[in-house]
Amino acid sequence: MTAVRPYGDHYDDGLIELSFTLPVPSRRSARKAATMLAEAMGLEAPEVAHCEELTEGFTFFVLYGRCPHSVDFTAIDDAEWEPVPLSEPEIEEFAAEHLTRKVVVVGASVGTDTHTVGIDAILNLKGFDGSHGLEAYGAFETHNLGGQVSNEALVRTVLELEADALLVSQTVTQQELHVGTLRDLVERIEASGRRGEMLLICGGPRITNDLARELGFDVGFSKGTYPHHVASYIVRETAARAASETETTSAAL
């Protein structure tokens, strides 16, 4: 499909639903403002399905409209976005075949974020929803530093342990705070001169792969990520990098 639009009840109707609040009193002019805003967003035939006053001067809307834009679905490479993950035994097998030693993985929830639910789910033995954490694998040596770890302390530990992969989690964040924290972490790693020695990985409900790469990480994991997704990435990427290093070395010889 080269022109994909939202689907409501038939192809190409472009129907989309939005909900938002405008800081205006709940009057007829408020409805008008909501539809004008939707039109400014490019939606056609916007209709307010529901509107109510939240408190004086704030009005909530649920609105439907038709989206005239489309995307070319054939131009998006599936493989890049959703590499098929290996299963637990496949990961162990892959590591045994392609890696010469355990991969040292250091993880933490950084900055002001005290929430360790994400990093614990990926790293700890118990894992999440039946999928074991990286601690359970023979392929990894894991260090979970917990929550509210400063970037400074994290980088120090990563260098001491000679980590092969650094996993950082950001669960609760507001006003793009996580962006600044993650950017600062990358800068510190770069400044250490050892960026090339490790995989930099981040994850959390507000993280996307795009954002992660833009910030200088190798990959970002979002909601719906299981430990074996991260584990698959680490073993594959570590093996790929080792192979390309070998190639470079032989070429140089």
Partner: protein, 531 residues
């Protein structure tokens, strides 16, 4: 409050055994923390004596004063001894003395011309004045509240969180909550605050995941809610978080600023913020003494265990902890009607009959604490970011809340697990709460459970598990239970944790007029409640 009679047909002997075991655990804790104070307890005393403000480096003056004595190794007598001595000697107020210490012009520990008796008298009198002011304000507030409507008198109190990071934005969100039937505003704190060993100063407009708890922020929200209450004839309650490294100080500030409620758990800081066990247990004892005295309802935090451990398997640990938390609060003077026992609706929606297990647990909490305002928390752990699904799950939670006669419920919001709620998310949540409260109002009174059915059997199984766990904790102590990860699956070492450097062994002549006078109780107030 509680409905009459047991629906669960609980084994009364087993219930008694659990209660006795939990009381024994609380006694064991009291022995382990006896004879100690902390820097936060001493800063609380400084605040009660009237010290506020910051020095030129933005360090709060209570920290300046306490550190000044602590660095000289003399905190074992209690900060009130030194401040009182200097007050008697110089005739200056505690605030003036604090400013003098901050300016480096004054040494509180210089005993020149000091008469210890006079110092103790000065500090005791200043404390009595401060407590009388709190008592007067609370009684006045109580009188005012009794003239207003209380929508929560015959339905679960609706407890709603705001977390914008900016106290002035929080006020707008709170007004929307009030306009849609919310009863209590709890301003979530910035995620970094629990590990600060000081209470930030001033109104704040930047916070992450929440808004800093400061005395000025408390006052701004209190004033806004009071104004709304006046205008609308219905009382809006205010809550905050008496947790982290500054529990006693936050309790003092809350008492002064007229808060109604505080999250004030005995173990949360140990488990979820890696704070040292003894530090937290000393701080909780003093903070609860203050909350109990000031008529503030405290919330325990067992809901958290269900987020880090499996909610089906760990149910007995919740009951054991509720009983321990309750006994710890009681032993520091908090009456039943001020202990809101926490529980949560966290079982994965894909578990067959999970709703029945939730129902059993909620009813069990209700029946084990008939005189306490039990508090129920909405699902979070398995909420996957789909707001429509979360809204549906919240509605089931709201139904169980009504049917099991919970006294308080935190409302669920559709965007749980995505971001801190937007202004309309809370209103949508409150509307769902209202549907259940109206359409199922007397459901609890109509229900009897099948004898030996799924719900009764589950309650019995959970209670038996709790009894076993409590027996183990009586034998080995609470500290060992924490080391074994018995609560929330989180293991903590007794010799580790944050804030250990803030524990001070009291000398034989340790002096703390705030605790001493609070132990006697507020004049003419039997239960501690002012309404």
């Amino acid at each position: 409050m509680a409905s009459t009679g047991s629906k669960l047909d609980l084994d009364a002997g087993l219930v008694d055994g659990c209660r006795q075991a939990a009381a024994a655990v609380a006694e064991g804790v009291a022995e382990r923390i006896a004879g100690c104070t902390t820097v936060s307890v001493e800063r609380m005393v400084v605040r009660m004596l009237g010290v506020d403000g910051v020095d030129r480096f933005e360090t709060p003056l209570p920290n300046v004063v306490v550190d000044h004595v602590h660095h000289q190794g003399k905190l074992d007598r209690g900060i009130a001894f030194w401040l009182g001595g200097a007050m008697a000697r110089t005739g200056l107020s505690a605030q003036q003395l604090a400013e003098g210490v901050a300016a480096g012009e004054l040494d509180l520990c210089n005993p020149d011309g000091a008469d210890p008796e006079q110092g103790i008298k000065a500090a005791s009198e200043a404390t009595a004045e401060a407590l009388a002011a709190i008592h007067r304000d609370r009684a006045q507030r109580g009188g005012w509240i009794s003239q207003l409507d209380d929508a929560a008198a015959d339905r679960p109190q609706r407890y709603v969180l705001t977390a914008t990071g900016n106290v002035y934005e929080d006020v707008r969100h709170a007004e929307a909550v009030a306009d849609h039937g919310g009863d209590t505003i709890a301003v979530i704190r910035s995620t970094a605050q629990s590990l600060l060993d000081y209470v930030p100063f001033g109104p704040t407009e930047v916070g992450h995941g929440g808004t800093f708890a400061t005395q000025q922020n408390f006052r701004i929200m209190r004033d806004a809610l009071d104004a709304w209450s006046c205008e609308n004839g219905r009382y809006m309650r205010l809550s905050s978080f008496c947790s982290g490294l500054c529990m006693p100080e936050i309790a003092a500030i809350g008492a002064i600023e007229g808060l109604d409620n505080m999250v004030n758990d005995a173990l949360y800081g140990i488990l979820y913020r890696d704070i040292h066990m003894r530090r937290t247990l000393i701080d909780q004892s003093v903070s609860r003494r203050i909350n109990g005295y000031a008529g503030i309802v405290i919330n325990t935090g067992e809901d958290s265990y269900l987020r880090t451990a499996d909610p089906v398997e760990s149910a007995p640990s919740v009951v054991a902890s509720q009983l321990i938390n309750y006994n710890l609060a009681r032993s520091y003077g908090v009456p039943d009607e001020q202990i809101a026992i926490g529980n949560a609706f966290e079982i994965d929606m894909s578990v067959e009959n999970g709703l029945l297990l939730e129902w059993a647990q909620a009813q069990l909490t209700r029946e084990l604490f008939p005189e306490c305002p039990v508090k129920f928390m909405p699902p979070t752990k398995h909420m996957n970011g789909n707001p429509f699904r979360t809204h549906a799950c919240d509605t089931l939670f709201n139904l169980v809340t009504v049917a099991t006669n919970q006294d308080m419920q935190t409302i669920g919001v559709p965007t749980e697990g995505v971001f801190t709620p937007h202004i309309h998310d809370r209103v949508l949540g409150l509307e769902s709460v209202e549907y259940a409260a109206v359409t199922a109002r007397d459901l609890g009174d109509e229900i009897e459970f099948k004898r030996g059915g799924i719900i009764q059997s589950r309650a019995d199984e959970v209670l038996r598990g709790a009894a076993e766990l409590l027996e183990e904790i009586v034998a080995d102590g609470l500290f060992a239970a924490l080391e074994r990860g018995r609560f929330g699956n989180i293991e903590r070492r007794e010799d580790q944790g944050r804030g250990i450097e803030g524990i001070v062994e009291c000398g034989e002549d340790y002096f703390n007029p705030v605790i001493a006078q609070m132990e006697v109780g507020a004049p003419g107030v039997e239960s501690g409640m002012y309404v």
